[in-house]
């Protein structure tokens, strides 16, 4: 019956169209901004239910021919404005249309899938969009992920340290995996780009341990944030299901700017500024009394002598200030040229960012060149290419964890009293540090920790209209691209250093070369057609992904003086060689139906297979379904002026997270002993049955609009359940093997996301836009499947994490033992925040001024502050020798809670309020410009801004956002003497020609 209806409706429509196709009339009009009355250039005028359209000219005028002689509906829209429908008929006069600024962004088109996009007002998911202006309009932010901070409800974005060049973790809607980092998939113009935290080798040379303590940057740092047009964030499986296997932690879709036909626009921007530490803690002063308490008797005379000498010459050195409190110069230069004609559009940009760090000899330089070109081969075949070459040169210095080598400023100076002078001698040598194994001044001056990335990202799209009728269109979309990334890393501690001189082979150099090559390609057939009053969008497609890595690290010890070439080393070692290769393929089908913007429904399914899985040929299915009801668009609604929109929505979807490479292998490792090669049985047994981690999410919510959509409200609740979570089943180590990956665990994330936004004031001379967001996530281990265990951090005495059913794996436990708890230790805290809030404000006033600020508040969420553990050991914590409880034992030796000196003392509330961005801009009036430069300069914008302007917290560290282990799902809140977060202050000038 339904089929019959469909066929007859199609036939009917066909007849109608054909029958009247000979008649035509013309409508003219102008489009202006409702608030300012200025003409809107480039607004789109479309005849509804047809493929006919026009664009407004420089005066906002348009003229459009309409087939037939019936009434028609014109849909008038412009980017950033609320679109309007206007009824016209053959006798209509020239029409005047005023468009209101889209304070609630309901009109923006949101990318929701591999080949689909939808108007925000029709969206059935809470997809967050961040526009170029929101991203970098307030201030200059080094990296794209850092620029997203506080702009997405449901995203827990965190800087791992303040080192220049990035290192940001993004967790969307809690965590979806226990073993990986739970970082979202990132797609740049259709290319699956590498956002891994690559090894730098610092932790190897400094002795800190595994590469997760390198404090490396994630490679999204390579992307110039100013090239970005918009970012869409699909936060969970219900929105991201069509991305299948890699979408468990969400998907971030980045679209770069493209050219538009018209005059060629040249824009030159220069930001210049400085950075200084956001927060320092101060170091403790010493007294003879403290020396007598702190040092053993035999050592006291020497220490007292040093102390008195310092007193005599008044040379006390605040090492924190000495190392961290340096003013760093920041510069960012950008040139963009864009334009085009009917057939070809282009956007070309160059960016040179050069930022010093607040620690001497650290810094970040990024050179990026981009060319985005679109060309119409014919009216129906369009080619788009986006090419981006990037060179990123980062020096991140020596901070964080270390072992024995002393190659960490903060770790080292935790032990150095302020009366001992470690600064460089006049003869160029460095004093021996008698309090630790190294002189950190020498490490800072002479050591190298560099990463040099050369990267090329190429994307392409080819759209072909295969068939077009007046109300249906069949398109083929081919798309894909490649991401080639080469990272050359160098960590060098020269032979002259104190610790190196104490080694059998002084001088240590570790060279790394990591290459990754990702390619992806997809082909989609899209058919847009009408079924009666229902607009249908059908898709079928396939996807192919390939990921290759090739890493080689070489180490040389015992260096010829001043040399870093490996061949100048006494002991030359292949530190690591690693290859990986992953192939994935998928097919998908999706059907969207839109009933007059009143009811919008989508169903879809994707099937994926991957060589990472136990069975590489098995397809796993990921279905989705969603529906949204735009109640205000129904006839019963009545007036829309006060309560202008109400949209209940519900969505369900499933996705997966990939298995780690190698989980199926049981290898024989290579080992060398006494000149012979040995094969050793691995301590991990591969699991050839391993399944991908899967997640299902049910999301529902209500979006509402008030006062002609000047004010909007979005409320979302989600339940995300994961299954088959991979964790290592620890085998009895007495069997000689330690673990095998298992698919047992299940996690539950439940949360709320609220956003209230809109335009509070709309006067010709004053406009105030605001967005207030609240979100929280509750994580629970619904099923563990293997025995309760503790893991992460530095063991139970220093705070570790509990993996037990009914608990969140972010639960921090530690000594003293408490057998009544699962896992056997005292529960001290939880890393997960209770809730986050952020508030974005934008004011335009006196016509030419714009002021914006962004603040974020995080409530609770505990850190494990081991920086304090170190400074307490070294007697340098500010206030160490105070004695709060008056029992004669100073605070530094007796930290509450009682019983003293257990793990609980390092677990600290990391609540904070950050004023993340502040910016003030002035656009020079057109008249003034014309007087000064004639017509040669189109626009000049001046501004001043701050990034990480202020921090308010009781947390006793440089920044409550910190992770010595980089980005990982759990244990990403351990504080070990990180690089202090900088406050960055900028002055801006942009000139458009």
């Amino acid at each position: 019956m339904r089929k019959f209806y469909r066929i007859s409706a199609t036939l009917f429509l066909l007849l109608v169209t054909v029958g009247w196709s000979w008649a035509q009339y013309t409508v003219t009009g102008t489009v202006t901004d409702e608030r300012t009355g200025e003409p809107l250039i480039g607004a789109t005028v479309l005849v509804r239910n047809s493929t006919r359209g026009a664009i407004t000219d420089l005066d906002g005028g348009f003229s459009i021919g309409i087939d037939g002689n019936q009434q028609a509906v014109l849909v008038i829209s412009s980017l950033g404005y609320v679109s309007k429908n206007v009824n016209v008929s053959p006798g209509s006069d020239a029409i005047q249309v005023t468009l209101a600024q889209d304070a609630t962004n309901l009109e923006e088109v949101v990318i929701t899938g591999l080949a689909s996009n939808i108007k925000r007002s029709n969206l059935a998911n809470a997809v967050s969009t961040v526009s170029a202006d929101e991203l970098v309009g307030t201030t200059n932010i080094q990296t794209t992920d850092g620029a997203l901070y506080g702009k997405i409800a449901g995203a827990n974005i965190k800087m791992n340290s303040g080192a220049p060049g990035g290192g940001v973790s993004i967790q969307l809607r809690g965590i979806s995996t226990l073993t990986g980092a739970s970082q979202p998939l990132i797609i740049l113009d259709g290319v699956y780009i590498n956002n891994s935290f690559q090894r730098t080798g610092r932790a190897t040379v400094s002795g800190a341990g595994a590469s997760n303590q390198d404090d490396g940057a994630n490679r999204l740092a390579d992307l110039n944030p100013n090239d970005i047009e918009s970012i869409e964030v699909l936060k969970g499986p219900s929105a991201a299901a069509i991305y299948g296997t890699r979408a468990n932690a969400g998907v971030i879709i980045i679209t770069t700017k493209r050219g538009a036909s018209g005059k060629t626009r040249v824009s030159l921007s220069q930001d210049i500024g400085f950075a200084e530490p956001l927060r320092l803690l101060g170091v403790d002063d010493w007294s003879e009394e403290k020396i007598n308490f702190f040092f053993p008797e035999a050592r006291r005379p020497l220490e007292l002598e040093r102390f008195r000498a310092a007193q005599a010459s008044n040379t006390f050195i605040d090492y924190e200030d000495y190392f961290y409190n340096n003013r760093a110069i920041l510069s960012n230069t950008r040139l963009t040229i864009s334009g085009g004609n009917d057939k070809t559009n282009f956007f070309v940009s160059g960016n040179f960012a050069d930022e010093d760090g607040t620690v001497r000899n650290t810094g970040f330089q990024r050179t990026s060149i981009r060319a985005n070109i679109d060309h119409k081969i014919t009216e129906s075949i369009r080619l788009g290419v986006s090419s981006n070459y990037i060179r990123t040169d980062t020096d991140r210095g020596f901070t964080g964890n270390q072992n024995n080598s002393g190659a960490s400023i903060g770790y080292n100076i935790a032990y150095v009293p302020n009366y001992y002078d470690l600064r460089r001698n006049a003869d160029g040598t460095y004093p021996i540090n008698p309090y630790f194994s190294e002189n950190p001044v020498a490490v800072t001056d002479l050591g190298t920790n560099n990463s040099l990335v050369n990267r090329f990202v190429q994307a392409f799209t080819l759209d072909a209209d295969l068939y077009k009728s007046s109300n249906s269109i069949l398109k083929l979309q081919l798309g894909g691209g490649l991401d080639f990334l080469q990272n050359t890393t160098l960590v060098h501690l020269p032979e002259s250093l104190q610790f190196q001189r104490g080694q059998a082979n002084p001088g240590d150099v570790l060279w790394g070369k990591q290459e990754s090559f990702n390619t992806n390609i997809q082909a989609v057939l899209l058919y847009n057609w009408n079924l009666g009053r229902v607009n249908m969008n059908s898709q079928a497609g396939l996807v192919r992904l390939d990921f290759n890595n090739n890493d080689l690290f070489n180490r040389g010890r015992g260096l010829a003086p001043g040399q870093i070439n490996l061949q100048q080393a006494t002991v030359q070692e292949i530190n690591q060689q690693f290859f990986s290769e992953v192939q994935e393929a998928g097919v998908f089908l999706q059907q969207e139906a839109n009933f007059e913007d009143k009811i919008i429904g989508t169903v879809g399914i994707r099937w994926d297979k991957s060589t990472l899985n136990g069975d590489p040929n098995k397809f796993f299915a990921f279905p989705r379904a969603s529906v949204a009801f735009n109640l205000a668009n129904f006839d019963f609604w009545g007036s829309k002026s006060t309560f202008s929109a109400l949209k209940p929505r519900i969505a369900y979807g499933e996705t997966a997270g990939p298995v780690a490479f190698g989980a199926t292998f049981t290898p024989l490792g290579g080992t060398n002993i006494g000149g012979l090669l040995g094969s050793v049985v691995s301590t991990q047994i591969g699991n050839t049955q391993i399944l991908p981690e899967t997640a299902s999410e049910l999301e529902f919510g209500i979006d509402a609009g008030f006062l002609n959509n000047r004010i909007g409200l979005e409320a979302t609740y989600y339940i995300k359940n994961t299954q088959n979570n991979i964790q290592n089943l620890t085998l009895a180590p007495s069997t000689g093997v330690n673990s095998t990956p298992s698919n047992e665990a299940e996690l539950e994330n439940k949360g709320v996301e609220l956003a209230l936004f809109g335009s509070i004031v709309e006067k010709p001379n004053f406009r105030w836009n605001t967005r207030l967001m609240y979100w929280h996530n509750r994580l629970n281990m619904k099923r563990l499947g293997i025995p309760t265990y503790i893991s992460g951090g530095f063991g139970s005495a220093l705070g570790t994490f509990l993996y037990a059913e009914g608990f969140s794996p972010t639960t921090i436990v530690g000594t003293p033992a408490d057998p009544s708890n699962p896992g056997g230790f005292t529960i001290w805290g939880n890393a997960q925040p209770r809730y986050n809030m952020s508030w974005v404000n934008n004011f335009t006033f006196a016509k030419h001024f714009e002021f914006s600020f962004l603040m974020e508040y995080r409530h609770r969420g505990d850190n494990v502050n081991l920086s304090a553990f170190l400074t307490d050991s070294g007697g340098t914590t500010n206030g160490w020798f105070d004695d709060d409880n008056g029992d004669g034992i100073p605070n530094g030796r007796q930290r509450p809670p009682e019983p003293y000196n257990n793990a609980g003392r390092w677990v600290q509330d990391a609540t904070f309020l950050k004023i993340r961005e502040i910016g003030l801009y002035y656009t020079i009036p057109r008249n003034t410009l014309n007087q000064a430069f004639g017509n040669s300069v189109e626009n000049i914008r001046l501004g001043a801004s701050m990034n990480n302007a202020f921090l308010f917290t009781k947390y006793e560290g440089y920044d409550p956002e910190t992770s010595t282990f980089g980005a990982q799902a759990v244990a990403n809140n351990v504080d070990i003497t990180p690089y202090p977060t900088p406050r960055r202050v900028f002055f801006h000038v942009t000139i458009d020609f």
């Binding site: 050592r299 081919l478 012979l676 050793v680 330690n738 070294g874």
Partner: protein, 460 residues
């Protein structure tokens, strides 16, 4: 319309050529970095057996770092001062009431070098022996030689977890990773190890005279014949029998071992070390290095030393640089003397020496009441150390005390924790001094958490 057709056909052709190689077809991806364990399980080549055997030598030295640092700290032969992690002091010395738990610092949930590593060596030996059985290029004699070597190492390695957890007992049935046997008592474990070593001894006998048929590292220089490996096997058995208090068994084993009363006291098989791709001797520290991490001589070793003891002069180096000083919340420890045994960072570390065998002979005789023989053996050691013949009391208690004292200096800081084990054997843990650090002496360790987890996982 013609144009559209043309472009349509171009698009279709492009699509076909693009996907000529089926994009849904995935290649089979093998481990690009390593061979698989399965590759040796069926008819391994002689080279593969050689690689597994060398792998066993590598696994065999896995325990050295952890035991040298930790057990020798427990027995106060050394302090492992570590400026970067105070827990090497506070936790290992049992300061401020700290006692070992199932995931203690330095051992983790798997027991690390004191538990997981020795069991990995045992696993390696099992895989080696298993692979040799199906390797058609090996003769029967080859197979017996491989089995004899593997079991000798296994016997040695089993003693490590046994001594670490002592009365808590260990697993000895560990061949099937998914179905390990239960824990057996310390005494039963030692008896089991005896059977492993005896089997190995018989295998080496059956392997016949001549060279060991595979290549051993220089650590086995002088011991790379089947007969010499038998002597190593018996030396290890002598140590085991002392733990079993089978004193006659000690003497019997010593007779078949490489013990040489007039020979070099340092003779014995060793773990080799070297520059990359090998690993450096983990106990080597540069003299007078101005660092804050170092193994230092425990003050009681200096305080209790006999004047002119050559062992003190040879093994301990008094720093001319400032002492190594490390502060923790339990106070500050100062190390004035370094370990002087290693000429370089490529020096081999012996795992059983002639000197120990002679001391075992003395101990066995003393326990059997054979005073003269005991004193004779003691005197070999004393004279080698330059402190003259024994002149003290010859009661059994006095002789045992003397032997334990000589063992402290002769076997100081060897990768075995001799003093900790010896004091426990004779119920003298309370004689280990804690006055220098205010800590406590641990009698033994609990089972690692991962073992408990496994039992709870399978419902035991």
């Amino acid at each position: 319309m013609k144009k559209i057709k043309k472009y349509l056909s171009i698009a279709v052709l492009a699509a076909i050529s693009l996907f000529a190689c089926n994009p849904l077809q995935l290649d089979e991806i093998d481990d690009p970095n390593n061979p698989s364990v399965a590759s040796v399980s069926n008819n391994a080549s002689r080279e593969q057996i050689q690689f597994l055997l060398t792998g066993l030598e590598s696994r065999h030295r896995g325990y050295v770092t952890n035991i040298s640092q930790a057990w020798n700290t427990f027995g106060r032969e050394i302090w492992y001062l570590n400026g970067s992690d105070p827990r090497f002091q506070t936790d290992w010395l049992g300061q401020n009431g700290r006692t070992p738990d199932n995931a203690y610092f330095g051992f983790g949930v798997t027991g690390g070098g004191s538990w997981a590593f020795p069991y990995q060596a045992i696993k390696q030996a099992d895989v080696l022996i298993e692979a040799s059985l199906s390797a058609s290029t090996l003769s029967d004699a080859d197979r017996r030689a491989v089995a004899g070597f593997g079991k000798t190492i296994k016997g040695f390695q089993f003693m490590i977890p046994a001594n670490w957890v002592y009365q808590n007992g260990i697993r000895v049935d560990v061949a099937d990773p998914l179905n390990p046997g239960g824990f057996v008592s310390y005494e039963d474990a030692l008896d089991f190890i005896k059977t492993v070593l005896d089997d190995g001894d018989q295998d080496l006998t059956a392997a016949g005279a001549g060279d060991f048929p595979f290549r051993l590292t220089r650590g086995f220089d002088g011991f790379n014949t089947n007969a010499a490996l038998k002597q190593v096997n018996r030396a290890i058995t002598a140590r085991l029998n002392a733990y079993r208090k089978d004193w006659q068994g000690v003497l019997t084993a010593l007779d078949a071992s490489f013990m040489d009363l007039s020979g070099n006291l340092n003779a014995g098989p060793a773990h080799p070390y070297g520059a990359a791709p090998d690993i450096f001797n983990p106990l080597f520290y540069v003299r007078d290095a101005v660092v804050t991490t170092m193994i230092v001589v425990h003050p009681s070793m200096l305080e209790d030393a006999t004047p002119n003891d050559q062992r003190v002069a040879n093994k301990f180096y008094e720093r001319t640089a400032p002492p190594v000083t490390v502060s923790t919340d339990a106070g500050t420890l100062v190390g004035t003397h370094q370990d002087n045994r290693w000429a370089s960072n490529t020096a081999s570390i012996p795992f059983i020496r002639n000197e120990e065998l002679i001391l075992l002979k003395a101990e066995a005789h003393a326990n059997l009441g054979q005073t003269t023989d005991a004193v004779a053996a003691i005197n070999i050691i004393r004279n080698a150390a330059g402190i003259g013949n024994y002149t003290g009391a010859t009661s059994q208690d006095a002789l045992i005390d003397e032997i334990l004292y000589q063992r402290r200096y002769s076997l100081w800081a060897e990768p075995w924790g001799h003093r900790w084990i010896d004091a426990r054997r004779y119920d003298k843990l309370n004689e280990i001094p804690t006055s220098f650090d205010g800590g406590a002496i641990f009698p033994q360790f609990p089972h690692p958490q991962a073992e408990l987890n496994w039992d709870s996982y399978i419902g035991n």
